[in-house]
Symmetry: C2
Subunit: 373 residues, 2 copies
């Protein structure tokens, strides 16, 4: 029997990204209950945090009755508008010379966050559209400051359909900023926008109680499965499964190095697996020497440590204690027992950034899971 006769035939090269849209709907429905009677709206900016704004919006529109969507840029609104005939699409970065035509064509709703932008809007106003006004309450990012609100005329103040602000620390339940921003928002709303519908919270604010929900909540991260209330167990379901095939399995002798700049050295003999995925597929390079890969055999998970630097197309992990592993088997980078929150912790960042990076890559076999109706 030749050497190669003993080898398996299961050779694969492409990483796989699975996105479970059934769970997206479940998360949305649970959040809808939590924030009730406030209206839910869906944040699908940044291509729905990377997983596909078009299919995410269409699914929420058709399967969950969502009628309010938030994007950052008008061109993101343009990419989803065809599937959302009766929805309102809010554009967070607002309106300017470089996108006014899209607002004219599609009647998107701009979020106006500065006097300059409001001035621009008044000169290019679109009659059918009533913009949102963004007011600043403590994040010190976008939004009118009070000295700017004071300068608005009564007529100006009547031009808006919704007043919004955004919380800075809502993922920390007891952070003083939450109460500070809530009080500030209430006071400014009472003074300048009495009776106008209001939205203060995104996903993280949804868990701070009814006071924070006002008329509408902007659901993003939690809907996508991220724990935006990390002071307690995640109530949301994981949407993402990311896996990559093992291209090669090798022995690593004592004293040998792994990867660029030789940052891992074997102090004892190890067995290593080379996976077909790297930072070119959106995995953070900060997982070098600290990330984890999971392998499933006979219904049981094994855990392997990333060795050396993550490179553009590959990562290497220590499979010394993984039994029965073969070339062509999948290593799992994100799954139900090692979620976005887990990989973000190991990579030293937040789940949002991981999601935003992963989903934009085009080397995956991408699969959406959605039950037939």
């Amino acid at each position: 029997m030749s050497f190669f006769k003993k080898l398996n035939e299961h050779v694969l090269t492409q990483p796989v990204l699975e996105i479970n849209l059934n769970r997206l709907i479940e998360n949305y429905e649970l959040l809808r209950k939590i924030i009730s009677p406030a209206i839910p709206s869906a944040v699908v900016k940044d291509d729905a945090y990377g997983i596909g704004a078009k299919i995410v919006s269409k699914t929420l529109y058709e399967r969950a009755g969502c009628r309010h969507f938030w994007v950052a840029h008008a061109l993101e609104a343009e990419r989803i508008v065809d599937d959302l005939p009766e929805a309102t699409i809010y554009v967070l970065q607002g309106v300017g010379e470089d996108n006014i035509e899209l607002f004219r064509k599609y009647k998107f709703t701009p979020v106006i966050s500065s006097p300059e932008m409001f001035d621009f809007w008044k000169k290019h106003e679109i009659k059918e559209v009533k913009p949102v006004i963004h007011i600043e309450t403590g994040l010190n990012r976008l939004g009118f400051r009070e000295n700017e609100l004071k300068k608005l005329s009564n007529k100006d103040l009547q031009m808006f359909s919704l007043v919004m602000s955004h919380l800075a620390c809502a993922d920390e339940k007891d952070h003083f900023m939450n109460q500070h921003q809530l009080e500030r928002f209430k006071a400014l709303k009472e003074k300048y926008f009495k009776g106008l519908p209001a939205t203060l919270s995104a996903s993280d604010g949804a868990f701070l109680g009814e006071d924070f929900c006002f008329d509408m909540v902007r659901l993003g991260a939690a809907m996508y499965g991220i724990n935006t209330a990390p002071y307690r167990e995640n109530q949301m379901k994981n949407l993402i499964c990311l896996k990559a095939p093992v291209l090669q399995i090798s022995d690593l002798n004592k004293g040998e190095f792994v990867g660029y700049s030789a940052t891992y050295r074997a102090n004892t003999k190890r067995k290593i697996a080379i996976l077909s995925i790297g930072y070119g597929d959106g995995l953070p390079r900060s997982l070098s020497n600290v990330g984890k890969v999971f392998f499933k055999a006979l219904g049981k998970w094994s855990e392997a440590r990333v060795l050396g630097r993550v490179s553009m197309d590959n990562l290497i992990c220590d499979v010394t204690n993984v039994d029965n592993l073969k070339v062509g088997d999948f290593g799992y980078l994100i799954m139900d027992d090692y979620t976005l929150d887990d990989i973000a912790r190991d990579a030293g960042t937040i789940s949002y950034e991981i999601m935003s990076r992963i989903g934009k890559n085009t080397r995956y076999a991408r699969k959406y899971i959605l039950n037939a109706r």
Copy 2:
């Protein structure tokens, strides 16, 4: 005169990514001279490190006579093949069940890196194609180990068109691994692949001298302007200009906080600018509180520090000392005086990862600069 009369009309919302393909050609030509008489080849995997594999390959093919291209995955080869009728396209992750059809259709050249993959190839061989064999010399990533080479028959050894390996530490001129890998590559080539064309070096190896260049060098990072020989001044030209408009300028009072989790506190009164770019556009979130933004006025650059956390769509910077700044002006995140190498250093990673992240985003106005012929 009303408050708004004093404001400018220059309101913009969209970040801009400019890619200078003239400089790509210049870098390629300079590298060609450095590695001569070895043949240059272009690494355009990961969508040409994010800047667009299709236009990069076409430019190098038509303007610089490049006839050898490297991608990681067969589907990446499929995206560029139409513009490269007489080129050889090498696929680094090789061939398997999930991409064999693409090899059959287009006659791409797989890089065979393991006995399992070679076994698969022999069962599905494409007569017109002679693959590359990847041999392991110290990186401990992909490639045949010597105990595996020993098991190849003479007939097996005749099946290849090129033998390759890859250096682990070539960006450190005096690293012992360079000489170790060179000797190992020469010895294995002599023993198993005498007379076969060979390629050992990528961009970084190109600067280690003629010994490292063999018959072909795989030009990637350096061609894109990255300094792959950081022990000396960069000889390559920067290709990338990334800028984003200022959406808003505000005062920050002493004691106020900026951004998520309130990680920046003003200890003195500051002036801040909010830019329309964030990690959703590929900027690393690790630039939080450490990144830099540059503003140009009257031909002079001013430098501003990122304040607080970089968020998905925005970043905030300290423009207290930037004169005459207006809403709609551009802040520069990458430019000739603050290159990929500089932003990577500040973000705690490598230029390759920055490039790979930035270019894949679709919210930019993307501009390619290429002179007419």
